[in-house]
Symmetry: C2
Subunit: 367 residues, 2 copies
């Protein structure tokens, strides 16, 4: 392939694990931005394989054809498994796929939400490939796996695991490679909880806000997966480890917004009963308001320990002024002192995350 000035395009071979919302958006973006990537970066993305949780479509040559890619996109848009396509190879797990397709220079992109991809990512690095993670799970288990997956910055990116498209991890990596030292990080790292908190602050009832956000697809399929704080806790842990601190999930204190009696009932029942929390929340919000404060679900990340949970903040502080699903990171370091480095903006959304993943891939290919 050639660009206008006759130089051949640089191939960017990749394998995609996970064809859910983010993976699908990435595939569409790669198709849409084909000419843009060629003319601006001289790069041509080659899809070696796409896998969902059960099977994989593997290119016979260097890349899936446009036609094959379209078939994959149509199938996943309908939320059907890839197994239904005639071009699909059944029973190809992530490790097998990595060993088959991820030789030197190939990027394995993990857009799953699975805790089972760690070994495939590890193997990819071992055989000379590169990795991009949108998946927090492999980075929030054993510290040794985190270390293995992130220590070679020439071959690994995980920007969208915290704050989606927001350049938080790349900035943290720059801080450390400049010889600066992180002192602590505070902020808001859940678009969903941010949206809920600002809506409640505007006087809307808690139950109604949760049900509305769920109906609009702003929450996880089960909103308790947002409300239990675990997603924010994993992000806090990735920030802590990225600051050079050897911590585990057990070092993060998590405030679960779902009371025990609502934890193990059906989703349907939960959505009916979530309104019962209204009284408690509106009382807290009202008390905050009287003190000139706002209620936020915030994270504090420090070597001494991390905490994620409800926090009263001054309405005029950066956190208090945050709107909608914007995220905010305040990174305090030796050089960013007394004022922190502040990074703020949209920190959620399927298309934003897919865009961030594409940027990670490009960095690895161009680097």
């Amino acid at each position: 392939m050639q660009i206008g000035d006759g130089k051949p395009l640089k191939p960017a071979p990749m394998v995609l694990l996970g064809a859910g919302a983010v993976g699908l958006s990435l595939l569409k973006r790669i198709l849409e931005k084909r000419d843009y990537l060629a003319s601006n970066y001289g790069v041509s993305v080659q899809l070696r394989a796409v896998a969902d949780s059960q099977s994989a479509v593997i290119a016979r040559g260097d890349s899936l054809s446009q036609e094959e890619l379209h078939q994959v996109i149509v199938m996943k848009q309908k939320r059907f498994p890839l197994a239904g396509l005639s071009i699909t190879q059944p029973g190809c797990g992530p490790v097998e796929l990595a060993e088959k397709c991820c030789e030197r220079g190939v990027v394995l992109v993990d857009c799953t939400a699975s805790s089972q991809t760690g070994e495939a990512l590890r193997r990819t690095l071992e055989i000379g490939g590169k990795i991009v993670l949108a998946n927090k799970m492999p980075l929030t288990g054993e510290y040794s796996l985190y270390r293995e997956l992130t220590e070679d910055l020439g071959r690994s990116r995980w920007e969208t695991t915290v704050g989606s498209l927001l350049p938080v991890i790349s900035s943290l990596n720059r801080i450390r490679s400049s010889g600066d030292r992180v002192l602590r990080i505070t902020g808001s790292f859940s678009g969903t909880l941010g949206f809920l908190m600002t809506s409640i602050q505007e006087g809307k009832p808690f139950g109604e806000v949760v049900r509305g956000a769920h109906a609009l697809g702003y929450t996880e399929p089960d909103p308790r997966d947002d409300l239990n704080g675990m997603d924010v806790a994993r992000k806090a842990l990735i920030l802590a480890r990225g600051s050079g601190w050897e911590l585990g999930l057990e070092d993060v204190e998590v405030e679960n917004l779902v009371p025990q009696e609502l934890e193990h009932i059906s989703l349907q029942k939960f959505l009916e009963k979530v309104g019962e929390l209204e009284g408690e929340f509106s009382a807290r919000v009202e008390q905050c308001r009287r003190n000139g404060h706002a209620l936020r679900y915030a994270a504090t990340v420090a070597n001494e320990g991390c905490r994620v949970g409800l926090t009263d903040v001054d309405v005029m502080s950066p956190l208090g002024r945050l709107k909608g699903n914007d995220n905010l990171a305040e990174i305090h370091t030796e050089l960013f002192s007394p004022n922190p480095l502040v990074i703020q903006g949209r920190g959620a959304g399927v298309d934003a995350t897919a865009a961030g993943v594409l940027s990670d891939i490009l960095e690895l290919v161009l680097g």
Copy 2:
């Protein structure tokens, strides 16, 4: 050289152009962070050569010895030319140095403020080397040179040319490689002018603030080089070009805070007469205050044109709330919309800039 676990260190060969304040701070940082870089990144920086405007100290082997580096540091701390050292080779210009030392993999680091280094940087890329610029001049002349020096992200970094250590350029590059499109950028990109403006807002007289900042070394040697807005104009141009817009310095409208009659007098005379501007400034600041506004020296960067100059902003807006020498960038894009990506924090300072340069070097070596 080896690190603890027995793996050999990866050499990071570099040549430094410019041994002024930033270059000197970088040399000290490289010495100080030697063990840190080895144990965290497995990297050992090798100084092939250091040059000031007249001559260069060139390593006989792979790197200057610690002893030679110390001699260079002592000499430049006294602000003596390198020519006074016995190890110095006279009459070695930047292009000659690049051709002699910057073969494949070597990083040429431009910490000068010279408009004469463009050819050396160009030659370095031509013969397979890499470049890091803290120097705005080569990026704000001919567009074709900007393009040549920045188009290969695997071999070029210029983060500190805008906002010092603040991750503005890297974030802009990520936005573009994600396939997103910049709509406009606004912000404050002069630590010095930010400091002056917030001091005036606090009621301090203009002349006194300028003289005080000059005495403390917060301004350029001649504060008119800050007050004329040209430094901010160059930063605006680098942001515009980094957004993909083929603009030149002539496309940036600049508000010069130095009246014509004070432009061509001696520095001494200027410092005596700068108080004469007090009346005008305090009147403007007072008028802003009455409207609930603050006066800032801000930049607006858009494809239709760029402007840097005094602007009335709401005191409660991010720009209005900016303190001291913090910089602020608000990047509006298709994906960061309606709310922009905000990056804020210390945007000035010799040590911060040197730290940012070290991070650029590491990225190129590890990438």
